[in-house]
Symmetry: C2
DNA sequence: TAGATTGTTAATCGATTAACAATC
DNA sequence: TAGATTGTTAATCGATTAACAATC
């Protein structure tokens, strides 16, 4: 009989990295255990939600005590699949691509950058952070040599789909797209898309001056409706 | 009697920039109108969800015809509050900060970068993309001169909270935090946090090989339960 | 044991979706 | 008018939360 593996809700999966980051900070302070209310406060979420999230992992704390920090880190890493490192390649060495390539935060969290690719002859051959930029055509070699199956796309928008198709043909199965355009991938390939300008646009909606205006409008309506 | 302003659900707000981006692409091709099913396909969402989202704006299409592309762009921009440009400042000119500062995608979508700030004497005075890096202490001057109320934090994690506090004291009311650590802001300040490594971690959970394993596990359990 | 805190229940809330009447 | 497509309804689904029995 195989073990029961209930699916973890998408909303929970999206929060696990946040919990992991908070646990790593606690671990750096040598905190042995943490309660759900403490960890929830660090992560900025409701304590009941945190406990519910963790219950999906089958990772149990100790009643009356809390969670063992090292233990819980291990369980979250295992569930996310970041308990071993995953080599990553970056395609498109413009401003953003170069910044991502040099960004220490990826390697430090299990995602070492092992290859840089572009199609611009002026970029190919340049060294960046210990790696030589190679032509995209040679990407299959790097995939074979490193076992990496994850690619970060940082090309101009009009190249993103073509590049994605080439990467998938070369064996990439996980794609993180930073180009400000959607790309489509076949079944069997994982995809996430991040558009940095979108974050500013969402922030714009929640600008305090606008929130206050909307609230005032609703208050007026409410008064009108009830008086 | 004031107009009714029903609140727009958070899930809808988060999708409006995506629709806007698709509409801008259609507009560039001079498409005059678009149906909900076409726009939904471009955005990768369900057509019913798209129509429901748009219905929250009070922005109406024409039955039998579809939505006027230019019109709908205007209504989404107005709802998001991106119908006029919002100047933005960047704090922390490391790899990521420099990339964000030079990134044309912000200015092109209504968020011109108008100030660069750091506390590193080696960075202050340097020119980047037409702007001189200034000391963070002088940020209030730029805020006053430009009317900008939005800041992008790209400092090391241990500086993020201090810098955020200084910015808020200087008049910033919207913060987009790229530092891989949470920051807290008082009421009346809008905040969004983006952690690039988190995206890779979430992608890791949905890696096709792992999805297949989990599905297989569930199939086995299902068979065991039903046989 | 007494105090503390988990894991789970059940109620509530919000988001998604298919279906279709309204209507251009 | 006939065909097409919206805007809305209502059912379903998933996520959140408070409360508390279980238990360390």
């Amino acid at each position: 009989m195989s073990e029961l593996e209930p699916p973890v809700p998408a909303a929970t999966v999206a929060r696990l990295p946040l919990y992991l980051r908070c646990l790593e900070a606690l671990d750096a302070e040598a905190a042995p255990t943490v309660s759900s209310s403490h960890l929830a406060a660090l992560a900025g979420v409701n304590a009941a939600k945190l406990r519910k999230d963790l219950s999906h992992l089958g990772s149990y704390g100790t009643r009356g005590v809390g969670y063992d920090v090292g233990n819980l880190m291990g369980e979250i890493r295992r569930e996310l699949g970041v308990d071993e490192t995953s080599p990553v390649i970056v395609i498109g060495l413009g401003n953003l691509g170069q910044a991502l390539a040099k960004h220490g935060g990826f390697a430090g969290r299990g995602f070492p950058i092992v290859g840089l690719f572009d199609i611009d002859p002026n970029k190919i051959g340049q060294e960046m952070d210990g790696l030589i930029v190679q032509h995209l055509e040679t990407v299959a070699n790097t995939i074979a040599a490193t076992g990496g199956h994850t690619a970060i796309i940082a090309t101009p928008p009009d190249a993103a789909q073509v590049v994605t198709d080439q990467l998938i043909a070369a064996g990439i199965t996980s794609v993180l797209n930073f180009a400000p355009t959607g790309v489509v991938v076949p079944d069997g390939v994982a995809l996430r898309q991040v558009d940095l300008a979108v974050e500013l646009q969402i922030l714009s909606y929640y600008r305090p001056e606008r929130v206050a205006e909307r609230d005032a409008g609703r208050d007026r309506n409410l008064s009108a409706a009830t008086s």
